[in-house]
């Protein structure tokens, strides 16, 4: 039975920032990306590093999405694991290096000034 947890006030996580919250025994990274909220485990699927302690940035793309040209893409949407620099696209949960790897994404909901994560 999914349950909603209040994890922060919206004012605590301004646009372009994120923080790690604890819900029960889980650590969850809550991201405010241009007013869109994302919640992912603070656990890199690669080797269980503390993913959400990583830096947020864009990254280099070069493929079908960039018309096969080198481009700076996904500005503000990439989190890089501090352990081994594996890059993750937070909105889609996609691992940039290994397409078969995905992050679990928790639904979020903003209720007034409260950010809620549904587990």
């Amino acid at each position: 039975m999914p349950r909603e947890y209040v994890v922060a006030r919206t004012s605590e996580i301004p646009e372009g920032s994120h923080r790690i919250v604890r819900v029960g025994r889980r650590e969850i990274g809550v991201f405010n990306m241009g007013g869109v909220w994302h919640a992912i485990p603070n656990l890199c699927p690669h080797q269980r590093g503390p993913l959400c302690e990583g830096a947020i940035s864009g990254t280099l793309g070069y493929g079908p999405d960039t018309d096969w040209k080198l481009d700076w893409v996904h500005e503000g949407e990439i989190v890089t694991c501090p352990w081994h620099a594996l890059e993750w696209h937070v909105p889609s949960g996609r691992c940039l290096a290994f397409p078969d790897m995905r992050l679990r994404k928790f639904p979020t909901r903003v209720d007034g000034a409260e950010v809620r994560v549904i587990l």
Binding site: G61, G63, H84, A85, L86, L96, F98
Partner: protein, 371 residues
């Protein structure tokens, strides 16, 4: 194309004699005077001059630059290690039970080290024409690798197009020893375009050389054992990495890529090492849509010099680590000093179907040979 090795009722009954054997790498000896007939002026004059020089094995001043400083002890192998005609090659290959073979040069293994780019182009072009007329047309079971001069990729692309329709050529040969820049560099784009257009795979093949230094200084070692242990594999690894780091396999997804004379035991190392680096450094190669090993596992590898572990099952394990049964091609390197007799690879504990693929089927697919 239908596989040329048809399923038999009892593949367990295969013998080296009964099997269709393709030899992915044998070497012919160039005749500078013969090549001169195909060289434009004034390079024909140079080739006739070179023809006067007494030859040494893989060392012909003016044509295959090389520095050799071994102490000349008596003894050692007394076998003739050059083949001078198509009929001599056919006869030697008959003794080895080889049905089809792909010819690579001797002296032109060192072509990338020739300093004058115009001479390098003249050597490549005259070799290709001479090879076709004197070897490939003379003996249809011998197939040609079309050598390019990396010193001039545009002229090389023209030569690929010149021969593109000729069924005697089954690949483009990229001489790797001493090549600068490495084969991933954008200057070689015309070569890959032309090869892809011609439907010809490219094959890299190195040779031992002390100077110039590539991709490391082999003069750091005191013995040929040391130099030769790394000369071919390091060269192949360096160029493999170079092709991947600039995305050649991504830009030319249909271009076959083959590697000769480096053995196979380093391939699992490259796969695993590059995948590990990729975890951390994908940004540098954002055009890769999959991990590096997925690209390399589409390449083809000549077996020679095939490793000879004390436990022969180790070879099968090594093959398993890079899907080698689907991508390895028996190669003898005949008649060079370290040639492999097909009996050894044939006798390794592969499954009958893997054995048939390695001894001929994979090469037939890679080179698009007909039975």
């Amino acid at each position: 194309m239908a596989p040329i090795v048809q399923e038999q009722q009892s593949p367990e009954q295969d013998t080296l004699e009964s099997l269709f054997v393709v030899d992915a790498d044998v070497h012919i000896h160039e005749d500078p005077a013969g090549m001169a007939d195909y060289a434009p002026s004034p390079w024909d004059v140079a080739l006739r001059e070179i023809a006067k020089v007494p030859e040494r094995y893989l060392d012909l001043p003016g044509m295959s630059p090389r520095a050799e400083y071994r102490v000349p002890w008596p003894g050692g192998s007394n076998r003739k290690q050059t083949v001078d005609s198509a009929s001599e090659m056919r006869s030697g290959l008959n003794d080895l039970n080889v049905d089809r073979a792909v010819l690579f040069p001797d002296h032109l293994l060192a072509l990338a080290m020739v300093r004058d780019p115009r001479f390098a182009v003249a050597l490549a072009q005259s070799y290709n024409a001479w090879l076709r007329d004197h070897w490939l047309l003379a003996e249809p079971t011998l197939k040609g690798s079309l050598v390019i001069a990396p010193q001039d990729p545009v002229a090389s692309a023209e030569d690929i197009r010149r021969h593109a329709g000729e069924p005697e050529f089954v690949c483009v040969y990229l001489p790797a020893s001493g090549v600068r820049p490495l084969y991933g560099h954008h200057v070689y784009e015309p070569v890959y375009e032309a090869a892809a257009e011609a439907g010809l795979p490219v094959v890299m093949h190195s040779v031992e050389a002390v100077y110039p230094t590539f991709p490391f200084q082999l003069e750091v070692f005191q013995t040929s054992l040391a130099q030769h242990a790394v000369a071919h594999p390091f060269s192949m690894m360096a160029n493999m990495i170079s092709l991947l780091e600039t995305g050649v396999p991504v830009r030319y997804p249909d271009l076959g890529i083959g590697i000769m004379e480096a053995g196979i035991s380093w391939v699992p190392f490259m796969l695993n090492r590059l995948d590990k680096e990729y975890t951390e450094r994908r940004r540098e190669v954002p055009f890769l849509q999959e991990r590096p090993s997925h690209y390399i596992k589409r390449w083809y590898f000549g077996t020679q010099p095939i490793e000879e572990p004390e436990n022969r099952g180790d070879i099968v394990k090594l093959f398993e680590l890079f899907d080698g049964a689907e991508r390895s091609m028996f190669a003898s390197d005949w008649p060079h000093h370290d040639f492999d007799h097909p009996q050894y690879v044939f006798g390794l504990p592969f499954s009958p179907s893997d054995r048939r693929a390695i001894m001929g089927g994979n090469a037939a697919r890679f080179f698009r040979l007909e039975a």
